[in-house]
């Protein structure tokens, strides 16, 4: 394997992993506050379609990305209202959001199918992008890729170094104790849900505006669900989310390289396309079989409704 091919594979892996990192980090913060939002597929789809439409009309991909974040946050608010204010079941409400978001994105996006956006040029970081092999792969990327790294450090700092992060985690572990020492549990959970929605929206925006740049129904293709699995795989730790996202990115681009490499492998394309989904299942099995590790690391109140004065 020559250096150019390795560079190209690493480059594509980083790109494919980026929407997963952004979305999964948002979900991680969401779940650290004890709220399980299964609607990430719908939030990503909404982010993707709104970002695409705004970019198409304004010509500015960053305006599009911002609009995608707002769209993700807006639909996450529906989930928040149901589960936090009305005490509805989190699993059912998340599923409702997934179905609703995917449906609404297909509806909004119909007029935008078969339109292509201008590709957003990469941003070359001086000097370090000249490092052989990895320089081109990591430091001549979309600005959004660098943003995902900033986001990673931001989430890490917030959760483990800031007081607000400590409060958030304490609410995820024991909302009743957090409430009794005076923290506004519901308000903070609302913020966590909004953050998860905004990040999923941004992840979706990356897919439709920076990655493919186009829109078709079903564009998100399960990335929202994979991001949920990624958080379990990472046992709720940011660094593992990052590593896991790139592993999945690698699996996702594998088919491109088998097809493009000229290797005479007689695999149907559909088989290779199904690899990320099988990989998700395998990863879930490997992680979940260790019951004590899941119990130890998952936020104790995850998925359980809490009402302060009940």
């Amino acid at each position: 394997m020559d250096g150019n091919l390795i560079t190209a594979m690493l480059f594509a892996t980083v790109v494919a992993g980026t929407p997963l990192i952004i979305t999964a980090l948002g979900l991680l913060v969401n779940e650290k506050a004890g709220v399980l939002n299964l609607g990430s597929e719908g939030m990503m789809a909404m982010g993707a379609v709104v970002a695409f439409a705004v970019t198409h009309h304004s010509g500015n991909p960053w305006l599009g990305a911002g609009a995608g974040m707002l769209a993700g946050a807006a639909v996450s608010l529906l989930f928040g209202f149901l589960t936090l204010t009305l005490q509805a079941n989190q699993v059912a409400s998340g599923l409702a959001l997934a179905i609703f978001g995917v449906g609404l994105s297909a509806f909004i996006g119909k007029p935008y199918e078969s339109i292509a956006l201008k590709a957003v040029p990469p941003v070359r970081i001086p000097f370090i992008s000249d490092i052989p092999v990895i320089g081109e792969a990591f430091y001549n990327q979309q600005a959004m890729v660098y943003l995902s790294w900033v986001l990673f450090w931001g989430v890490l700092w917030f959760l483990y170094r800031s007081r607000a992060g400590l409060v958030l985690r304490s609410i995820g572990e024991s909302p009743a104790s957090a409430h009794s020492i005076g923290f506004p549990v519901i308000a903070i959970r609302y913020l966590a849900v909004l953050f998860g929605g905004a990040m999923a929206g941004l992840g979706g925006a990356f897919v439709s505006v920076f990655y493919t740049p186009m829109w078709v129904e079903g564009l998100v293709a399960g990335r929202g669900w994979i991001a949920l699995a990624l958080v379990v795989f990472a046992t709720w730790r940011p660094l593992r989310v990052m590593v896991g996202a790139y592993l999945f990115g690698g699996v996702m681009i594998l088919q491109l390289f088998v097809q493009g490499s000229g290797l005479q492998i007689d695999f149907p394309a559909q088989f290779l396309s199904s690899l990320p989904y099988w990989a998700t299942i395998i990863v879930l099995v490997v992680i979940s079989r260790n019951l004590s590790s899941i119990r130890l690391n998952s936020p104790a109140s995850l998925g359980k409704p809490y009402r302060p004065d009940a």
Partner: protein
């Protein structure tokens, strides 16, 4: 936060009537929201309402189409409800539906040219077994490795879509089909007989009604069904009583997969008459909503599946006459579930006017 003069107060006991009233409330809210959606889209709300909710069933043929669309929903939702009652979250009915279609098509293509009366029963068995086999993957991984059945069953939906795409673009492609991604049309012996002449309504409706009744008997008249209800409503009590949680996972997923597989069989051996890469219009996902709106109860599922079928047909109508994408159906379906979950708050809480302590 400023306190609103409205607040929720916990009921001493869950309301007895709200579980049945809240689906009706949700439907009314959805109809209201529907009018608002048409208004917001700049369409005549009254015309939109008429086209979407009334036009599909304006004549006998329309009603037959409604029953035809409701059939796969009824089947999938009954199977799902059995699992949901025991908190077994099978979200992959869409994939199990597709596998059922694939299994039945496999039988039909293998016995191509056969005129045996046993062909259809063999396809029914093939479809149900294929759907159940697909659901057995999350069941095995859940019981053996504790892997989350929501995510596993959902991932398998994407795999099933790719599998059917491979089949109809590859080995099963109709050699005379001008390269369209579809199998050849089934022989007459592999098609479900039409129930009412002049319509597309076929015998799968009878199968679905039989499954509904069987589901009712299982849920309310069998010991296993009782145990599964206990497990769903009071997990600790079920554990103390020594009910096997693993067995419930298996039963829940196999029932869901088998019923969804039957629905997939009915689709290829019914209105489609062949397998294509667009075999499901999202029936497996819509059935989740049907199961919830029907309160996980077979009679409720009967009504809910008719309602959801209407939403599918209404989407086709407004696409044809108002030039709106048919995916508007999914928007309404999602809204219906939102409204239901919201309305359910009144089962355990009541709305009180006035500030606390006032």
């Amino acid at each position: 936060m400023p306190e609103l003069p409205l607040r929720l107060e916990a009921r001493a006991e869950p309301s007895r009537w709200m579980p049945y009233l809240s689906p009706l409330l949700a439907v009314m809210l959805m109809l209201l929201a529907g009018v608002l959606v048409f208004w917001a889209l700049g369409k005549d709300p009254a015309e939109g309402f008429r086209l979407f909710f009334l036009n599909p069933v304006k004549d006998a043929y329309g009603v037959s189409e409604l029953l035809l669309k409701a059939t796969p929903l009824m089947l999938c939702a009954t199977g799902l409800a059995i699992g949901f009652r025991a908190n077994v979250w099978n979200i992959g009915a869409e994939g199990q539906f597709i596998l059922g279609a694939v299994g039945a098509t496999g039988v039909a293509l293998y016995f191509q040219g056969s005129e045996s009366r046993l062909l259809l029963p063999a396809m029914v068995v093939g479809g149900a077994l294929a759907g159940a086999a697909w659901a057995s993957i999350p069941a095995f991984l859940k019981t053996r490795f504790n892997a989350n059945e929501i995510l596993v069953s959902l991932m398998l939906v994407y795999v099933a879509q790719l599998l059917v795409s491979w089949l109809v673009f590859g080995p099963w492609k109709d050699p005379d089909g001008f390269n369209f991604p579809q199998t050849r049309m089934f022989d007459d012996a592999a098609l479900l007989p039409i129930l009412v002449d002049g319509t597309r309504l076929n015998q799968s409706l009878l199968i679905a009604l039989a499954v509904l009744i069987a589901g009712y008997v299982f849920m309310y008249r069998s010991y296993t069904g009782f145990k599964m209800r206990v497990a769903g409503e009071a997990a600790d009590a079920a554990r103390y009583a020594g009910f096997s949680a693993n067995r419930m996972v298996w039963i829940g997923l196999l029932c869901g997969g088998g019923a969804a597989g039957l629905a997939g069989m009915a689709e290829v051996a019914g209105p489609m008459g062949q397998l294509t890469d667009k075999v499901s219009l999202g029936y497996g996902f819509a059935a989740i909503i049907v199961a919830f709106v029907g309160r996980l109860n077979p009679l409720g599922i009967l009504f809910a599946s008719l309602l959801m079928a209407l939403l599918f047909l209404g989407g086709e109508q407004v696409q044809q006459y108002m030039n709106l994408p048919s995916s508007i159906s999914m928007v309404f379906q999602g809204m219906l579930l939102f409204f239901l979950l919201g309305a359910d708050v009144f089962i355990n809480y009541r709305l009180v006017i006035g500030r606390r302590g006032a």
